[in-house]
């Protein structure tokens, strides 16, 4: 069993017994078998001494129990790491950054506190998954749609705080958040936006309240623990068309992106559109020396043999005639930019039957699915970069990355592209890991660190990053000698002077552990 830094076994035993008094014996986990459930299976540090191992996990059931957990952590200076459902796979799973941290697992706080059809929102606790919310909407027969990431077990709060990406009409998850309740490190309970007026009925209807808008400070952050969150839903559209555009040439991605941009900006394409190569490697984008998945040839009728073509996934929503008119216009736009483009689509109308939809359509309709694994095969680690929404920028990115991959004996053919934040492009570059060969993982880490460094110089930075790259990724936000990070750390030291909350999250360290920064 690992111990929190600086604590003796006796001190930790005392802390554990106080945790047990707070949450009950059954909800403090310390045996190896249970601790193993909080391991990051995607960590490049797996099978090494450097991989942080939690000392325990604590699962409070209420804000009151959580406040006691925080009091005990402050008393003993124990680093905590908060998870909602802990499925942050690829970005660290349920794991922490500091060896011996206690995981605060909020899975028991899983109540849907309000579901409002008239104003299209929900108020949820951290343990509520995308599937839970969708199921409850269906159970009540409400004509509302939700949205979320591809795995249905994602926590609404966890994924939204990570500013995750969905695929439907509310795919920019952070933008769909309205009002939160936060427990600060000192145990103070705060409500943001209109929730700060205890009589307001508009907590989930108007984001800002009065004065500085603080909700963003608690996303991708270690400044507080979010215990309630308002999330916007969307009235079910009368009709929906799930569509795909295919282009066969590798360089066709340039006009594809440039055609997509004005359509996305003007909301003709209203969903969180995505694009990807029409062939996947073991890891999206990372391919062996032969170019194809598993190193084999990768020819798909593209102009340059060996280089994949692309497909974009789009959604059209609303009144039937509008949906059809938009889709026709969009096909015209793509056909005039890329004459060889081909199209495929399926039309659906309310009342929707999820069983008639394939995974792609389900995702675009915000229907949570568990089928994503074969589509997004993340058997490794990756970086996720934000860049301008232009074909030229993406092409520069592809060439730069392919060059860097080749230095490590691999090729980069392009990963999934997300247009969930409609004025920018976010894309992933994966690197395979091995569960048996540490040398593969060391090489993967070295490549990713290099990708992050070179990207920073090019002006591309990560939208979100795995635990092991958090310091590197934050380093690229360097304006005025890292003024932003200094601001984050000023806030951290003020709001959490003992540095108990998720130390090192996204490269923000509390004073007492700052030497841990990589």
């Amino acid at each position: 069993m690992s111990l929190p830094p600086g604590l003796s076994q006796g001190q930790f035993d005392n802390a554990l017994s106080e945790f047990r008094t707070a949450v009950g014996n059954d909800w403090v986990f310390t045996i190896d078998e249970h601790i193993a459930m909080y391991k990051d299976y995607f960590s490049p540090l797996q099978n090494t001494e450097a991989q942080p191992i939690p000392s325990a996990a604590v699962a409070p059931d209420s804000v009151e129990e959580l406040k006691v957990v925080l009091r005990v952590a402050n008393d003993y200076q124990i680093p905590l790491w908060t998870i909602s459902t802990g499925k942050n796979y690829g970005y660290g799973g349920p794991d922490s950054r500091v060896n011996g941290s206690v995981i605060v697992d909020l899975k028991r706080m899983n109540r849907i506190l309000e579901l409002n059809e008239e104003h299209a929102y929900a108020l949820v606790e951290p343990g509520v998954s995308t599937y839970d919310l969708w199921r409850e909407i269906r159970r009540r027969g409400y004509r509302l749609w939700t949205d979320g990431p591809s795995p249905a077990y994602a926590s609404i709060i966890g994924n939204t705080l990570e500013r995750g990406a969905g695929y439907g009409l509310l795919g920019e998850r952070a933008a769909a958040q309205c009002g939160m309740e936060v427990v600060l490190a000192n145990g103070d309970v705060m409500r943001t936006g209109m929730g700060a007026n205890s009589n307001a009925e508009t907590w989930q209807q108007y984001k800002y309240g009065l004065g500085p808008y603080v909700d963003g400070m608690f996303s991708q952050s270690n400044l507080g623990i979010v215990t309630k969150m308002g999330i916007w839903l969307i009235p079910e559209p009368p009709a929906f068309r799930s569509a795909e555009v295919y282009v066969s040439g590798h360089e066709d991605i340039i006009p594809m992106i440039d055609t997509l941009r004005p359509l996305r900006l003007s909301n003709v394409i209203a969903n969180s559109a995505t694009a990807s190569t029409n062939q996947g490697g073991h890891i999206e984008g990372a391919q062996g020396p032969g170019g194809g998945a598993g190193g084999g040839p990768n020819v798909d009728g593209g102009h340059a043999p060996g280089l994949p073509g692309w497909r974009a996934r789009l959604g059209f929503y609303g009144y039937d005639r509008v949906v059809e008119a938009n889709w026709e216009q969009v096909q015209d736009e793509f056909a005039s930019a890329i004459p060889s483009a081909t199209f495929h689509s399926s039309r659906f109308a309310a009342p929707y039957n999820p069983d008639e939809m394939l995974t792609e359509s389900k995702l675009a309709a915000g229907i949570p699915s568990f089928q994503e694994a074969p589509i997004w095969n993340h058997g490794g680690t990756f970086v996720s970069m934000v860049m301008p929404f232009t074909g030229a920028d993406y092409w520069d990115f592809l060439q730069t990355y392919d060059g860097l991959y080749q230095e490590y004996g691999m090729r980069y053919m392009g990963g999934p592209l997300h247009f969930h934040a409609p004025r920018s492009l976010m894309t992933l570059a994966g690197v395979p890991l091995s569960s048996t060969d540490n040398a593969v993982n060391e090489r993967a880490m070295a490549l990713c660190e290099n990708l992050i460094r070179v990207s920073g110089e090019k002006g591309w930075s990560e939208y979100r990053t795995p635990l092991v790259f958090m310091d590197n990724a934050m380093e690229s936000f360097d304006f005025n000698d890292h003024a932003l990070r200094r601001f984050h750390e000023t806030l951290k030291d003020t709001l959490d002077p003992n540095g108990i909350l998720s130390p090192g999250k996204n490269g923000v360290w509390p004073q007492r552990l700052r030497e841990e920064r990589a």
């Binding site: 554990l16 047990r20 014996n25 059954d26 909800w27 403090v28 986990f29 310390t30 045996i31 078998e33 249970h34 459930m37 299976y41 995607f42 699962a59 459902t85 802990g86 499925k87 796979y89 799973g93 899975k107 028991r108 899983n110 343990g127 998954s129 599937y131 839970d132 199921r135 269906r138 795995p151 249905a152 077990y153 069983d355 995974t359 699915s369 568990f370 089928q371 694994a373 074969p374 095969n377 993340h378 058997g379 569960s435």
Partner: protein, 150 residues
């Protein structure tokens, strides 16, 4: 460790055997079982005869059964969540490997853990395996507290 054939017999010997590696489980839940089936809920895949036979037998012995394919359906989800929330049920499945992968991932959210798997694999490796859509695996879930011996 019991093998899959033994598991499929659904006999109380099966669970006793699983429990022998989990003494707390034996003490906590199994001693209360007085009905035929040691499983309270069995999920099966109706496209596979072996799986149907397993569920039919479990049902005869008093277990609730539910169908699950590649993706989770609402009925199976409702069955799972109601059994999870009881914190008493022993849940078994004979499903595709991919399906087992996400059910095991869901189990942790409800303070359940895998106490038997016909091939021991962490939940994520199951999800990531090629062909996991097709291959059938057997698994048993029990509440976490039954093994929390602190």
């Amino acid at each position: 460790m019991i093998n899959r054939r033994l598991f499929l017999q659904t006999s109380s010997a099966t669970l006793a055997s699983i429990a022998s590696t989990n003494p707390a489980l034996a003490k906590g839940i199994i001693k209360d079982k007085d009905k035929g089936s040691v499983f309270d809920l069995v999920l099966f895949d109706d496209q596979h005869k072996e799986s149907v036979d397993f569920a039919t037998d479990a049902k005869k012995n008093g277990a609730t059964i539910g169908v699950v394919h590649e993706d989770l359906n609402e009925e199976a989800y409702d069955l799972l969540t109601s059994h999870f929330s009881s914190q008493r049920s022993i849940i078994a499945g004979y499903t595709r490997e991919h399906t087992a992968g996400y059910i095991l991932a869901l189990a942790r959210d409800h303070a359940y853990q895998q106490v038997h798997f016909s091939e021991l694999e962490p939940e994520l490796q199951l999800l990531l395996k090629e062909n996991s859509q097709k291959k059938l695996v057997a698994w048993v879930l029990a509440p976490l507290y039954t093994t929390n011996n602190s």
